[in-house]
């Protein structure tokens, strides 16, 4: 496999020369950085990156709209999953007031209500204050026809209360391999339609978000190399685990180092998704957390991941789905202004990545594409609890362990609190309906059965 080896490291070398807070000039990646201020964390203005092609000045923090706050957050009733529009409005107002100007949604998010909620929230602000990114989603084959695709796009404009989209992405490229890509976007002329819309100015930037089969990713870039199409930007999953250890999370994934390198080489601005790996990098194993706190005691664990994702100069924006106001404030502080990682810190994070990988966590990012499970299983909820326990060291299999009793309680009672009994892992019948939907390629039924067996072994061992 080709490995890109100069982009990130070269950048870090440059950084050393320019100094930690140096202003970076535009380079090959088509993105220029403009730091608002040089003062400490949360003291300056939001770092902006320049999209060379359109001249967009994009905030390094992008607002992800996949995990919008629901009424359940207030009511505590999980079934109350209607979007809390007031909370969305409040959050969007705060974000815009603090320099965030990139909002990434999709027709599929939040059970299909994300675009509508964002349309309501954003239309309260002048249209030139922000950039909208949305997607041509590819979940149900019933939406794959040309007519349905055009309908989906036009509906997006309507829901978002706008007559143009700043950034449009082909959704989930690579899931389902080449066949799905050709069937979904090429054979039916949908890609041509989108290019036409770009010529008309209704789509200002056309790009793709990539998960899964790297052959599709390579194919898309080859298309551009052959001059068949121009990609204005691309969205990839990148964090300090995926940088070099994507395969260790999942055999099917590709290292972000390669993906970023290929894009950077061609000057394609890169949008980063999953900078926290679905929140997993916001709560890392205890020993890793201790080392991070030792270096920067006042910074959150998540801030390391955000600084990592924002550091490469080819990155246009880093998306984060901020369900809670606290997360938004925290991320704005981290990026106002961004303090890029130095080479030593970069090496430190790579060491931490290895330490984290030694834990047997499930690489679930809580994207909820697998949901709803027909049998009512709360798949992401179960994985989140299991990962939390792994990270807290409360998954103990040895009954002789002095911490066994405490760990058992923490696992079981925490489990019952996180997920009601009838939605726990032991309800998985193994039908496999979820498998094709998981962008991380997790063998969901197998992992659920293993967790169910572990929980059952704990329940059966009375102490």
């Amino acid at each position: 496999m080709k490995k890109f080896d100069t982009g990130r490291r070269g950048f870090l070398r440059n950084l050393g020369i320019l100094g930690a807070a140096g202003v970076l000039g535009a380079c090959g990646a088509g993105v220029a950085s403009s730091d608002g201020a040089k003062s400490g964390r949360g003291q300056g203005a939001m770092t902006k990156r320049l999209n060379g092609a359109t001249g967009d000045s994009v905030s390094i923090l992008g607002y992800g709209c996949m995990r919008l706050p629901t009424k359940a957050l207030v009511s505590g009733n999980e079934a109350d999953d209607e979007i809390d529009q007031n909370a969305v409005n409040e959050s969007v107002d705060y974000a815009i007031a603090h320099g965030v100007n990139y909002f990434d949604t999709s027709p599929a998010y939040c059970k299909g209500h994300s675009e509508e909620a964002m349309g309501v929230a954003l239309s309260r602000h002048p249209r030139d204050k922000y950039y909208i990114a949305t997607k041509l989603s590819n979940f149900a084959p019933s939406t794959w026809s040309r007519e349905a695709s055009i309908g989906m796009f036009e509906n997006s404009l309507r829901m978002l209360r706008t007559d143009y989209v700043d950034y449009l992405l082909l959704h989930g490229i690579g899931m389902g391999g080449m066949e799905a890509f050709n069937g979904r976007y090429v054979d039916n002329g949908v890609l041509d339609y989108l290019c036409e819309k770009r010529r008309q100015g209704i789509i200002r930037n056309l790009g793709f978000s990539y998960h899964g089969d790297v052959a599709v990713f390579d194919h898309l870039l080859a298309m551009m190399d052959r001059g068949e199409i121009r990609w204005d930007f691309a969205q990839i999953q990148m964090n300090y685990i995926d940088w070099r250890h994507a395969k260790e999370i999942n055999e099917r994934n590709t290292d972000a180092e390669y993906l970023y390198g290929e894009l950077s080489k061609r000057g394609i601005p890169v949008v980063i998704m999953e900078p926290l790996l679905g929140g997993r990098l916001a709560s890392v194993p205890g020993p890793v957390a201790a080392k991070m706190k030792e270096r920067r005691p006042d910074d959150s664990l998540a801030s390391w991941a955000f600084r990592f994702a924002g550091t490469p100069e080819g990155v246009l924006t880093v998306l984060s789905g901020m369900t809670y106001m606290e997360h938004l404030k925290e991320n704005i502080a981290t990026y106002s202004a961004l303090e890029p990682l130095d080479a030593e810190e970069d090496a430190f994070l790579q060491r931490m990545a290895l330490e984290i990988l030694q834990n047997d966590t499930v690489p679930c990012t809580d994207c909820k594409y697998c949901m709803p499970c027909p049998y009512g299983v709360n798949i992401p909820g179960i994985f989140a609890h299991y990962n939390r326990c792994i990270n807290e060291g409360t998954v103990v299999r040895d009954g002789a362990d002095p911490d066994f009793a405490r760990s058992r309680r923490a696992f079981l009672f925490g489990y019952d609190r996180a997920v009601p009994r009838l939605r726990q892992a032991d309800r998985c019948v193994g039908c496999g309906a979820c498998l094709s939907h998981c962008p991380q390629g997790i063998a969901i039924p197998g992992r659920l059965h293993a967790i169910a067996a572990y929980a059952e072994s704990l329940r059966a061992s009375k102490i």
Binding site: E78, A79, D81, A108, Y109, C110, K111, G112, F139, C367, K368, Y369, M371, P372, C373, P374, Y375, G376, N378, R409, A410, F413, G414, D416, R417, R421, L422, R423, D426, R427, C428, V429, G430, C431, G432, H449, A452, E456, R459, A460, S461, K462
Partner: protein, 504 residues
């Protein structure tokens, strides 16, 4: 002084017993489980000779202290009276609320005879022993506690448990889910509550001395108790205070006599006598009316009848996101009921259980529920729709005071087959529709279920009935009846209980 001691002991006892019904952590049970076991009616049904001797000796020495400091319903009535006193104007309070009345023999022995008949019918297997249990004061209190105190406690404890869980302390977590509303049980508890409260409010210890079989039985012994309150005729000025303050209405001031069969030795008379004319001391039965021999004989006969019947029964032991909707799984209406492993069989359980609900409150999985069928009314049965009877759990067998569920340990329990799983291939998503499942086999703790190829080529569960212990894990884990997209509301594999448990 003695009165203070009585009140202290009573407070501790009622709090402890109530705690047993509401505490799901198992901590209370570790220290206090002896309290239900020394309750008279359950001890009688359990033929718990130790407890019976203890109570007999206690009564023969001290009088009916049982009714004042052990019986939760007795203590509860004292609390009702205390409330009435607090709520009354001072004048009325000084005057007292009670006056002497003669012993209501017909009522008292009528109820006792009825109780004996009900017990006998229960032991003979004609009706459930819970009908006799309706008259048992401890079980009546248990039914009130499990229906009123438990939900209240649950509500009160949830915020505290949430806070504790935040900091990683899970002691207060309630693992059994709240049980669905059971109207019949609630009606029984409300009725008990209304009758007992009204009787106590109006007439003090009327329930204890006119209805309660435990009170009547102990009354037969307490006539001969060694220590008893007695009036010193030299000091007494016949002011009548003691009689007006006697909850049991058993002091005849004019004749200086006390009916010791009704006296619950609450010590109120001693505490209220301004002249110190009443003392609690060793007396000859002089001031008491001698108990007629006939009563005594009939009591002994009654005990013998009850004991004989018990012995006879004891012999025959044998888009993204969102959550798919879920349904409330129902039990198969005609499936034979299953009862816990220590119960020996349905016959044994239904002839002993007084339906105090202690096992129902103690079940950590919440699978033990009061039955609604007339033949086992209010008695526990296993319902596997929200959980299953874990092979390692023996909680219910250790709390039962009536011996209806006998103690078993985990090793014994795994060798007791309380029922067997039966497959309904017409609704099984694997057998009938060829869908991938096998959840019953995956979760069978006994390894009794295997997926085999059926005649239609689909995989279907098969149960090895010689290994199946009837724990209900399959019924609980079956997606049929729970998953919203499957039309049936009953599991495709379910437990048929055995009438008499098999031992392997």
């Amino acid at each position: 002084m003695l009165r203070i001691v009585r009140m202290l002991l009573a407070t501790v006892a009622i709090l402890a017993i109530t705690l047993l019904f509401v505490d799901f952590t198992g901590i209370a049970a570790r220290w206090l489980s002896f309290l239900p076991k020394i309750q008279l009616v359950p001890a009688l049904l359990a033929l718990n000779l130790g407890a019976l001797c203890l109570l007999a000796v206690l009564t023969l020495v001290f009088g009916r202290v049982y009714c004042s400091v052990i019986c939760p319903l007795g203590i509860y009535q004292d609390i009702v009276m205390r409330l009435r006193i607090w709520l009354s104007p001072k004048r009325k309070r000084r005057a007292g609320f009670f006056r002497h009345s003669p012993e209501a023999k017909k009522l008292r022995y009528g109820f006792f005879a009825m109780f004996l008949v009900l017990v006998a019918l229960g032991l003979a297997g004609v009706i459930a022993s819970s009908f006799a249990g309706l008259l048992d004061p401890y079980s009546a209190y248990g039914r009130m506690a499990s229906r009123f105190a438990l939900p209240l406690w649950r509500t009160a404890v949830v915020p505290v448990a949430d806070m504790a869980a935040e900091s990683g302390v899970y002691v207060l977590d309630s693992y059994p889910a709240a049980q669905p509303l059971n109207v019949a049980m609630l009606a029984v508890a409300v009725l008990t509550f209304v009758v007992v409260t009204a009787m106590a409010w109006r007439g003090g210890r009327d329930y204890c001395n006119k209805v309660c079989p435990a009170g009547t039985m102990l009354g037969l012994l307490s006539r001969f108790s060694l220590l008893k309150p007695a009036i010193d005729t030299d000091k007494c000025n016949r002011c009548g205070t003691c009689g007006r303050k006697c909850k049991a209405s058993c002091i005849d001031t004019n004749n200086h006599s006390i009916d010791y069969s009704r006296c619950v030795v609450c010590m109120d008379c001693i505490g209220n006598c301004t002249r110190g004319a009443i003392s609690y001391a060793r007396r000859r039965g002089g001031t008491a009316k001698a108990a007629p021999d006939a009563t005594r004989r009939s009591f002994m006969v009654g005990l013998a009848v009850a004991g004989g019947a018990i012995a006879a029964r004891a012999a025959d032991k044998a888009t993204d996101g969102g959550l798919a909707p879920l349904k409330d799984k129902q039990r198969h209406p005609d499936a034979a009921p299953a009862v816990p492993a220590g119960a020996i069989g349905i016959g044994h359980l239904s002839s002993r259980c007084t339906a105090c609900q202690l096992c129902v409150s103690a079940c950590p999985e919440g699978v033990l529920r009061p039955s609604l069928s007339a033949s086992r009314f209010m008695q526990p049965e296993l319902v596997f729709t929200g959980g299953f009877c874990r092979p390692d759990c023996t909680e219910c067998s250790h709390v039962c005071p009536a011996g209806a569920i006998k103690p078993v340990d985990a090793a014994e329990k795994t060798a007791i087959r309380i029922g067997r799983a039966v497959v309904d291939t017409s609704t099984c998503i694997s057998a009938a529709y060829g869908q991938h499942c096998g959840n019953c086999a995956r979760h069978c703790p006994a390894g009794a279920i295997q997926m085999v190829k059926g005649t239609n080529g689909n995989m279907r569960p098969s149960v090895d009935e010689s290994v199946c212990i009837g724990c209900g894990s399959c019924e609980y884990h079956c997606p049929v009846g729970t998953a919203g997209h499957i039309s049936s509301d009953k599991a495709a594999i379910y437990v048929e209980g055995y009438k008499v448990h098999l031992k392997s």
